[in-house]
Each structure stands twice: as C-alpha cells, then as structure tokens.
C-alpha cells in the first residue's frame, strides 16, 4: 500500500510519522529540561551544544520544540477526533431521525459554518478562557459544523441506498441502521476529512497560541514558541524560524498524504 503512493505521498507519510513519534517520545530525547536557562547568551545561533540555538531567555530551542510537539500534535489530534466523532454522530442522528430534527440541526450548523473559524474561536476564548481542556473543546466545537456537513451529505445519500431500504423493511431499528448499515460505509471519506480537520486545527491552535490566547506559559506549543521569540525576528534567530517551519512541515505533510491517498481511490 505504501509502495503504491506517489512520491509526494511518501514524503507526507514520512513527515506525519516523524511528528507522531516526536510527540510521543520527544520529551525523552530532550537534552535539557523544558524551562531551564542553559545559555548566558539569548537568541544564539546553531551550535554543537544547542542544535537549534537558544531562545529569548537563553533556553534550548531543540528541547522546547520536542516538548512543544506534544501540545501541537496531541491537542490537535484529540480535538480533530472529538470534532469528527461529534460531527458524524450528529449527522447519523439527522439522517435516521425525524425530519424536524434534521431541519433544526442542519439550520444550526449552517449558521455556525457562516462564522469564520478564527473569529468563532476568538469569541469562545474571550468567553471561556484558554486552559488546555477548554482549548481542546473550543477547537473541536469550531470544526464540528464542517465535519457535520460532510458527514450528513454522505449519510443522507447512503440512507437512500437499496440495502438500507431493505434493512428498513426488515424492521431494523433506527440505531441499527445508523450504526451498522450507514456508518461503516462513511468511514473512508470521513478519514480524509479527519486529516483536513487536523490540519485546520493545528493552524487554528498555533494561531491562537501565537496571539497569546492559546497554550499558556510556562507550557508552550509551536505557536507560543513563535510568539515568545518574536523579538528575535529582526536578527533572524533560529528560535523563531524553527517552530514556524515545524508547523509548516506538519501541516504540509498531512496535506500531501491525504491528497495522495485520495488520488489513489
């Protein structure tokens, strides 16, 4: 299966695996504790002691990046999962439920989708604050409508298929039809959608952190790393470039992988 992927897909897959492993085991490899001041100099460049230089307080950027991957990848994956599962669940409910319920849910989701995601996230953060669990819920909530819309159109189409009609005439209950007949046939397209949502959430989350409204210090994800080192921009310190590149490789990698897998089918 991997062999049949085009080159861009292989690069994407390798990047995704790299970041997943980094998120899982990165902290074990970090040469320095995440908050320790190890260099007298700030914004120092690449050297053998500090492979990616030091940040605005003289902390090791490499170690902070390894710890940051956990937040960026972990939080985004969890939020994307939550958004997809909620979206699919509601879509199945709408597809097998009463017409009024479908109408209400769809109208509500259409409204939510008309609010640009970053704006919605900002309003939510203003209202509820930004602890880690709240960020997770906010990111998931922001992307439920998109996931719902795609899942619903899939589910409604599947519900018209002959085999579902047969199951209905056999007298199967609504939940059986939703979960056993419709859901298994939605999984594949929804996986691609999950990947896209993951990319969106990584960008949203690092955007929020960059604005100082996401992951709060002393913890830091990639977005916060860019933010806290923004004063190093004028001198071109690796401390600000490296986390920005990290976000880009992660999102581009996932995108290349999804596109390659889509093209294959």
């Amino acid at each position: 299966m991997i062999r049949s992927l085009p080159l861009s897909g292989k690069i994407g897959l390798a990047t995704v695996i790299f970041w997943l492993l980094t998120a899982m085991f990165g902290p074990l490899l970090a040469p320095h504790p995440v908050g320790e001041f190890v260099d007298m100099d700030v914004f120092s460049g690449i050297s053998s002691t500090f492979p990616l230089g030091t940040d605005y307080l003289g902390r090791d950027v490499f170690s902070r990046l390894l710890y940051g991957a956990r937040y960026t990848v972990g939080l985004a994956a969890a939020a994307a999962m939550l958004a997809s599962i909620t979206g699919i669940g509601l879509a199945l409910t709408a597809a097998v439920g009463s017409r009024v319920l479908d109408e209400l849910l769809s109208r509500f989701m259409d409204t939510m989708i008309s609010i640009p995601s970053k704006i919605l996230a900002l309003v939510l953060v203003a209202a509820f604050g930004s602890s880690i669990p709240l960020l997770l819920v906010i990111c998931a909530f922001t992307y439920v409508p998109g996931s719902y819309r795609i899942a619903r159109s899939l589910a409604v189409n599947l519900a018209q298929m002959d085999y579902v009609q047969v199951a209905k005439t056999q007298g199967e209950g609504r939940w059986h039809i939703g979960l056993r007949e419709i859901l298994p046939n939605m999984i594949h397209p929804m996986l691609a959608d999950f990947g896209l949502r993951f990319v969106f959430i990584v960008l949203l989350l690092s955007g929020l952190s960059f604005l100082g409204l996401g992951v709060q210090p002393p913890e830091a994800d990639f977005g916060s790393l860019v933010r806290e080192n923004i004063s190093g921009l004028a001198e071109g310190a690796p401390a600000i470039i490296v986390p920005a590149i990290a976000i880009a490789t992660l999102t581009i990698g996932v995108n290349l992988l999804i596109d390659a897998m889509r093209g294959k089918r």
Binding site: I119, L211, L213, I247, A248, N255
Partner: protein, 316 residues
C-alpha cells in the same frame, strides 16, 4: 422562477443567516463569567453598588430585550461603548476599518489575476509537467501557516537584504514608494495561501468544463486551445471560479488576524485580538459581526454574480 426572485431569495436567506449568527455571538459573549458591572467596580464593591451599576448599564433586563437593543444598535450604526477605550465602538472601529480594507483590497488585486493565470494554465496543461509542478507546490502552500511566510519574508527581505521594513507603518501622506515598500511583506504573507487555494479551485473548475462534450466538438472543429478557453470554457466556468475566489478571499479574514499582529499593523483584526485580551465585550461583538457580515457578503456576491452570469437562467 425569475432571476430577480432568485436573487431576492438569496439575499433574504443571507439576512436570516446573519441574524442567526448575531444571536449565536450574543449568546456566547453573554456567557462571559462575571459581568461588566462587577469588572468595572472591582472586588471591593458592595452588592448594592454592583446592582445599581447593573441597572444603569441595563444588564438587569432580560436577555432577549438586550439582544433586541444590541441588534437595533448595530443596524443603526451604534453598537455601544467600548469599555476599555471608553469611546463609542463605532469611533474605535472607524479608525481601524479602512486599514484592514486597504490590506484586503491590495491582497485581492494581487492574488486574483495571478491565481487565474496559474489555475488556467495548469488546467490547459493538465497531466503535463507544468501542471504537476503547480499542483504539488500549491498543495504544499495551502497548508502553509502565515507565520512561516511572514517570518521567512522578514528574514530574507528585512534582515538579509535590508530592502523592506519588518513593521508596517501607516501614515496619511506616505509617498508611493514608501507605501508599496511597507505593504509588500504583509500582502505577500496573506497571498500565499489565498493564491494556492484560488488557483487549485480555478483549475478544477476549468478542467470540469474541458471534459464536456462541447469542448471536444470545438477541438474537432479546429479551434485553438487559447480560443477554446477564452470563448467556450471561461463563460461556463465563471460561476464556480467566482465562488472559488469568494471562498479564498474569505480566508483573508482569518489570515489578517495573524498577519496584522506580526507586522504590528493597526487594523480591525488586531483590534479584535485586543478586545479579547481586555475582555471588551461590546467591541468584541462588533468586530465579530463585521467579520461575519464580510464573510456572508462575499458568499452572497459570488452567488449573485453566478446567477447573473448564467445565461440559462436569463431566458426563463
């Protein structure tokens, strides 16, 4: 249905959506823990003082009355008073809105022609080397965060080459050269994702038409490839292309939040971020409503242009 009925229907449904959106924004920001009265008086206030101020601010009225008041205020151009700046929200926004509009207009003027060019030439060479190169590079660019483009841009053009400023100054009587220099980096950072998205969607729309039988007919008749695209394909693809543009340009609304912050640009998006950090609810609500209306307006305009551009709807 006549074409005017169609357009009127579309406008009515956009207005309804906007009303629902305002309801959602009002409900969420109304859930803010603690209220403005408590915040303004601080911890030492007696419950009586808080109650009195709540009454003065009208916070003790039922939520639906406040919602009606708020919507009425927005429609009549007076969305309340900014709690932090202690100025009418309308004035605070009037200061910033033109800057954001200028940034958006410059970006649109730069991205639209370029994406059309990329999208159409990729579609005309579909499957060829040019198409593959463009497809992979736009695919990578779609997921590029503004941070990276902005920081790399500053690194190359401000730090290494010392050509462009890393902070965007906005002054009233900037000479032209100065104006272009200060806007180049922000516009560039915003453009990357927009161009990638727009040209991908344009390519898809054009290829969709190129696969139609009437194009094959034109090829057999001996029409050249450029004439096919110009005379036959573009008039038919205009609806989807306009839609692609509206969707990609709506991305500007979100992208502006990051770019305005990086370049210290005094626009509406950075104003909204300040409103979030300072918990300035009236200002936050007003900014959110402007962004949502802009988004809906873009989609509405795209739909109306698509309706007008579709000759099949004219004859009915």
């Amino acid at each position: 249905m006549s074409i005017y009925r169609l357009i009127l229907n579309r406008i009515a449904s956009a207005l309804l959506t906007l009303l629902l959106v305002s309801l959602v924004i009002f409900i969420i920001s109304d859930l803010l823990p603690g209220d403005a009265a408590q915040e303004m008086l601080g911890q030492s206030a007696t419950p009586e003082q808080v109650a009195a101020l709540r009454h003065d601010l009208g916070l003790d009225r039922p939520a639906y009355v406040r919602f009606g008041d708020w919507v009425g205020g927005i429609v009549s151009g007076d969305p309340g008073t900014s709690m932090v700046a202690n100025m009418p929200v309308a004035e605070v926004i009037a200061d910033r809105l033109p800057n954001t509009l200028r940034l958006a207009a410059l970006t649109a003027a730069f991205t639209v022609p370029l994406s059309l060019l990329i999208g159409i030439s990729a579609a005309m060479n579909r499957g060829g080397r040019l198409d593959r190169v463009l497809s992979i590079s736009t695919l990578a660019m779609v997921a590029m965060p503004e941070f990276l483009v902005a920081t790399l841009g500053v690194l190359i053009f401000s730090v290494k080459l010392r050509l462009l400023p890393s902070i965007t100054m906005v002054t009233a009587d900037q000479p032209w050269g100065e104006f272009l220099r200060s806007y180049t980096l922000p516009v560039l950072s915003l453009s990357v994702v927009v161009i990638a998205q727009m040209s991908r969607m344009t390519r898809a729309a054009v290829i969709d038409q190129l696969n139609q039988p009437y194009v094959e007919m034109a090829v057999l008749k001996g029409v050249g490839p450029v004439a096919i695209v110009r005379r036959h394909v573009l008039p038919n693809a205009i609806g989807p292309i306009i839609n692609a543009m509206a969707l990609s340009l709506s991305y500007l609304l979100g992208g502006a939040i990051i770019v305005e912050t990086i370049f210290n640009y005094p626009g509406l998006a950075s104003l909204m971020v300040n409103a979030v950090t300072s918990r300035d609810t009236p200002l936050l609500q007003a900014c959110a409503m402007i962004f949502c209306s802009a988004y809906l307006l873009l989609l509405l305009a795209a739909d109306i242009i698509a309706i007008l551009a579709n000759p099949r709807l004219h004859n009915k």
